[in-house]
Amino acid sequence: MSDQPPLHSVQQLLSAQPVPSAQPVLSAQPVLSAQPVPGAQPVLSIEHVTLQIGGARILNDVSLAIPKGEMLGVIGPNGAGKTTLFNVISGVLFATAGVVRLNGRTITREPIHARARAGLGRTFQTSSLFAGLTATENVRLAAQTKAGGATALGKFPRARDAATRLAEQRLAEVGLGAHRRSIAGGLSHGDKRKLEIAMLMAMDPEVILLDEPMAGVGSGDVPGLMEVIRQLHHGGRTVLMVEHHMEVVLGLVDRVAVMHHGELLACDTPDAVMGNPTVQSAYLGGAA
Amino acid sequence: APGAAADVDAAAQPAVQVGMITSATGPLAAYGAAYTAGFEAGLDYATDGTGAVDGRELEITWKDDQGNPDTAVSQAKDLIGQGYKILAGTVASGIALSLAEQAAQNDILYISGPAAADAITGINQNTFRSGRQTYEDVATAGTFIGDPSGKKIVVFAQDNAFGQGNLAGVQAVLGAKGATVDGVLVAEDATEFTPFAQQLLDADPDLIFVAWAGASTGAMWTALQQQGVFDDVPVVTGLGDVSTYGAYGEASDKISFLSHYFAAATDNDESAAMISYLEANDSEADLFSPDGFVAAQMIVQAVREGGGDDVGTMIESLEGYTFDSVKGSITIRAEDHAVLQPMFQAALSQGADGTWTPSLVETVDAKTVAPVIAAK
């Protein structure tokens, strides 16, 4: 932890943007437990989360509260700990210290599947699918979980049942209608991304974590995928999105959280964050 | 539906079909080969080279059980289904027990091969055996030590059916005569025998009875020799087939062997006939050759008396049957079908070329080693 960002940069951010429209949350203070925010209860809150692997502190006292319905962008240099944060929230990794709450319920120690049941959905930085199954089957599996009895011996998926219809509908919505019967492993990169989102939609989670949904997606497909993400966000769903494409981040999110060296540097409106010099130098660079 | 068994018209005197099931491949193939060769020699002898009894041809069908009971049962069912009334063979006790079960279920005559398990004797009305059983081995060893009363005997054996059978046998035979009998049973898959050799010495016995089979024999003897067991205690064991003569290692001449059979053990018409037949067929007399020879003699007797079709008469004709064979005079006890036969004491000695050969020390009378009658 030799070259931590100087603390005053956070202060600068604070002063630059005193009262943002949404709930501003800053890393340095304990946010929720100490002073519950009046009004909207955050749907997801991360309190003093630290993750240590071996000698390395990969997340360092990260606190963040996300109100219901927000779309939050998470940016930061490569290796800042964004994916790790998502892993801690979704249960792929367990925090060494701190608490993760979903709708007020502590889920810090719960396994992945229990968090998913509680309404947490995610995608991975590199697509993670059932490569040998068809697109429809991929989505149907997700849809079944939502409906319950996903592992029942007494229920048989059929071409016309609700889950399959729902799956096909979701596929059509993300523009994969023509690929219903295709084996997921053989889809192109962009289509795999879309398929993952269709699975998310079928699961209908309350909180969604998207890890670089645009990575490797052709420029031509970016607007379409942005529209799909916007739809995903509709209906009061909360979305956290790690993304390096700034035009996507700026075009979609309500607030931006900046991570650096495992710490939460700032969390603020896009304009405020973009204007911040530390972000400029550590993340955006001298604008290519 | 077609009937299973073909009804035979007596006028035509068709061949008597005999099914021989034994290992031609698999772990016990070598025993199977000796048995098979012995049987052929015996058939040749008992039918005077005609292969027929009273003008009825004996048609022998050989099946390879691969040492696998399931294969053997399938083959037995196939043969029985084809109308075979006589089955014989197998070297493995497990297989013999399965076949005995088939014989009883289907009321045919079955003569088991070299399989040593005592359980085969008296298992049912339909089953006979043509070789020796564990009890006879043990009783033979018992004759080596004079009066066993008050002596301490340790049985060193593998912890499997064969080893447990031997321990039980020694307890029954020698324990009954007043000896204290302990067992050191070694897991069958163990590969390290040195500590057990130590354990044997620690027990300080008057006699060690070793019952061992399989590939680890050599390592076991080496361990006993290395730990100096032979220096302190007399050791008795059964002499295996020719290929194992080298396995007893340096201590070979310090071991007293009980023997079921080896070529030099007897000198009579039957053994001469067998040895010359085997030599003529590129084979040699071995541990289990007499078992095959005897089986052939028994089948010929059964067919002669019972005609090959009437199982009841065939069984009767064998019960109490006494005849001369390779090992000497043999009696099939009526009560439980035990085969009462002479046994041998042997010693190994090393020739100039380094190979070991057995020689006869003493012939043990059949009566002396006769098993107690098994409850049927």
């Binding site: 692997i53 940016i75 490569n78 031509g220 607007p223 035009e247 660079g285 604008a287 | -």
Partner: protein, 267 residues
């Protein structure tokens, strides 16, 4: 971005008219590629000139990666591939690479269970690999020398992957989406690194990021449905919104020439 040795004609055939100046380092003729029995590259022909950056463009799934992999013999292929004057389409991959090809694969493909140093050491083919260059370009890697590559962040892995290709003196670099998943700052740095590399070695580049293409590409080859649909000067394509729209599917609400910053939000 001006390039003195640039072919004038957008059509492949015309390359033959100027053999002396622009002997192509890589000639691809009638290349077909198959994955699991499925045709993914169909009759692709193009040249990579001996200098500068040639960008291989096209929408997702048109077969860019597959084309590169067919050139290297990593997937089943037929056709004619000539590298530095000799046919290589029958050679096994390692022989092609040994002739001086650096490859930066699409999904980084670092060796997760090897440390950063080991990853780099493995890639060294030359007697005197260019370690200094790599260390200067990616100081982050120097710090993480002993870390297992599998535990690096996505961007850090991409650096390892690039470094592996830059360590050796190559006659051609095949670079597949080098900026995928990188933060804007690193994108800038990687772009500059590639630009510097391009001064000494020709590059065949697959890239989605239009800004990066603008910065690097001298020539473009556009694929669609596994076939070549456009070959020519980078400027010919990039200055023509209609062509961009047609070939790359980018709706150009804003003036494409003006997108020098990352802030451009597509409509």
């Amino acid at each position: 971005m001006t390039d003195p040795i640039r072919t004038e004609s957008p059509r492949t055939e015309s390359i033959r008219t100027e053999p002396a100046r622009t002997e192509p380092i890589l000639r691809v003729r009638n290349l077909y590629g198959r994955i699991a029995g499925q045709q993914v590259v169909e009759d692709v022909s193009f040249d990579v000139p001996g200098t500068g950056v040639t960008a291989l463009l096209g929408r997702n799934g048109v077969g860019k990666t597959s084309t590169i992999r067919s050139i290297l013999g990593l997937i089943e292929r037929t056709g004619e591939v000539t590298f530095a004057g000799s046919r290589v389409d029958r050679l096994p991959t390692h022989r092609i690479v040994q002739r001086g090809v650096g490859y930066v694969p699409e999904d980084r493909e670092v060796f997760a269970k090897l440390t950063v140093t080991e990853n780099l050491r493995l890639a060294e083919r030359d007697a005197h690999p260019n370690r200094a260059l790599v260390e200067a370009l990616f100081p982050d890697l120097v710090q993480r020398r002993a870390q297992l590559a599998g535990t690096l962040s996505g961007g850090q892995q991409q650096m390892v992957s690039l470094a592996r290709a830059l360590l050796n003196t190559n006659r051609l670099l095949l670079v597949d989406e080098p900026t995928k998943g990188l933060s804007p700052k690193i994108v800038g740095e990687v772009t500059e690194a590639l630009l510097a590399a391009a001064a000494t070695v020709p590059i065949l580049l697959v890239e989605q990021n239009l800004q990066v293409i603008r910065r690097l590409a001298d020539r473009v080859v556009v694929l669609s449905g596994g076939r070549v649909v456009f070959t020519g000067d980078a400027a010919d394509l990039l200055d023509d919104p209609e062509l961009i729209q047609r070939y790359l599917g980018v709706h150009s609400g804003a003036d494409p020439a003006d997108t020098t910053t990352d802030a451009a939000v597509p409509a």
